[in-house]
Subunit: 327 residues, 2 copies
């Protein structure tokens, strides 16, 4: 019999994540299997699943019911974006507690709004009661002619992120320390947007060597890129685009920490040849910044480089829901 | 704001099920959307999701951990079979309680065994902790040139089922009344088999007008076929192939009830032109019977016909997990 695994911090999650990855040689119809943001099938079909569990990924008192559905769906749509894929459809699996405490029509409306706002439709799913918390699993289905993997980063490449980071995690830190997040921070958590158009534009210009969405925090997700590509990534701390509202709420140090180790920004982290991105044009096209945050080198893992040029390994990794983030 | 829906019996589940169905006009890449066993995409790709929730779909004391994974996966594979689709891949979303009570490697091994036993591989998924019970959601991905829908039944057609019915539900009735199911009944619950090969054979012979898998009980699933096809289905009670071990355990009447209203047999219920199935050849090929259980007529809903020719509407519908089944 297998070893019993206890669920705790990040290491255990990585271990368990491995269980759902890798299952022998891939059949001919599977172009890309475990280890990326989504699986890719013949004809360019892309499929991903994302869990959203009450009291793990969100608390009911933080969100309207439709926002619970909306942000769960965006997590799936963001996986499609990370593959450079156009969203086509979502399937919603929903296990809901009895008693009418959750307005399921509103949850469903939120999922549909997210789908429709990103060019997809809801095509099915499954429903059950839950003897515990509210539980959503979003299956996101997309299509792309050029799936972008995590594994294409090469030494000398530049590392970029879209938008600003840390706002969503800052909202969580406010809530879990009995403070009220500003509307902007709250919106980052409750109404994220998947960077579908941004990803497709970058992919169509053929500048992207590797890409991931920032769902586990920049350090964690840069680490995934580094591991998949067999390289090291150095993040320059003063380049990290921390959300101004996060700085205002938490101060510069904790806001940077939220950007590095918080989760669910749903921005893109991607790797290109040096200076391959026209940042002015990107911001003009999409209304959000794109920022070079680091460099790919030989080696492994992630380094954090301070403004004086000194560098250190991160003392911790990615997002472990909000347990490691102050609560 | 939407109405608050309370989760209870079958009617509410139907209502909620509707929420996950239908989302405006389908885009060109979606061939078949809500309302069938799975969604169908361009190029014949088929995607389905199936929840398996502790204390709703199973109890931990009934199953080994690997069986929890195995049967959850078979539910998804059976949806693919019902579409006449070949399984290609599974994605596993798993939310597990802390504390090591569940051997996640064993659950995962069960999912993989089911995948490999039906010609598929595990290509990804998501993992979270659960603050409540164990949750699994299986996304099943398959491919077919000829997706079979629920909607092709026509008056005069014959209605068939593969295998025997009621064994899985009988095991549940034994457990929930503090009895011990026989090994055969237990195996029907713990180690079902999706009728992938049987479905493909039937579809390749072009005899099937409509098909569904028997996951909600024969009455419920025949009702789904009738509703989707805009017809009535009359089931002849004495033709229903009730599992002999179920009769032995529960007596003829309750075993028939389990076959009609129990769930999770994962047999196929399908509709053909009259007498279009060579039952002898089918049993020789697959080692299980195929039985004509009824007839399609004009009208709506399901009728149950007794041996004296009298008929009545079912007093209740399909499977509501085991709550309506004695517990």
């Amino acid at each position: 019999m297998g070893r019993v695994v206890r669920l705790g911090g990040g290491a255990e999650f990585d271990l368990i994540r491995r269980f759902t990855e890798g299952s022998g040689p891939l059949p001919a119809d599977v172009m890309l299997g475990p280890g990326d943001d989504a699986a890719v099938f013949r004809d360019g079909w892309v499929v991903s699943t994302d869990l959203s569990v009450e009291d793990v990924h969100f608390r009911r008192e933080w969100l309207e019911d439709h926002e619970i559905g909306y942000r769960a769906a965006v997590a799936g749509l963001s996986d499609l974006a990370a593959m450079g894929s156009s969203p086509v459809a979502l399937l919603l699996s929903l296990a809901a507690p009895r008693g009418g405490a959750v307005d399921l029509e509103a949850v469903n409306a939120g999922v549909r709004a997210a789908a429709e706002g990103h060019g997809a439709v809801v095509v099915g799913g499954d429903v059950s009661r839950s003897p515990g918390p509210l539980f959503l699993d979003i299956t996101a289905v997309g299509c792309t002619a050029w799936p972008v993997q995590r594994s294409g980063a090469e030494p000398g490449d530049h590392v970029w992120v879209t938008g600003v980071l840390g706002a969503s995690a800052s909202a969580v830190r406010m809530w879990t320390s009995d403070r009220v997040p500003s509307p902007g921070l709250r919106a980052a958590f409750a109404h994220p947007r998947a960077r579908v158009d941004e990803a497709r534009c970058l992919v169509e210009r053929e500048v992207v060597d590797a890409m991931i969405d920032v769902s586990d925090g920049l350090v964690g997700d840069a680490g995934h890129l580094a591991a998949a590509s067999g390289v090291s990534i150095t993040l320059e701390l003063e380049r990290v685009p921390v959300a101004p509202e996060a700085v205002q709420a938490l101060g510069a140090d904790e806001a940077l920490d939220a950007a590095l180790h918080g989760g669910e920004d749903y921005e893109l982290c991607f790797v290109t040849d040096p200076d391959a991105v026209d940042t002015t044009e990107f911001e003009k096209l999409f209304g959000i910044p794109v920022t070079r945050v680091g460099t790919v080198e030989e080696g492994d893992g992630v380094w954090l480089q301070a403004s004086d040029g000194s560098r250190a390994r991160p003392t911790r990794g990615g997002y472990d829901h909000w347990e490691g983030a102050g609560a």
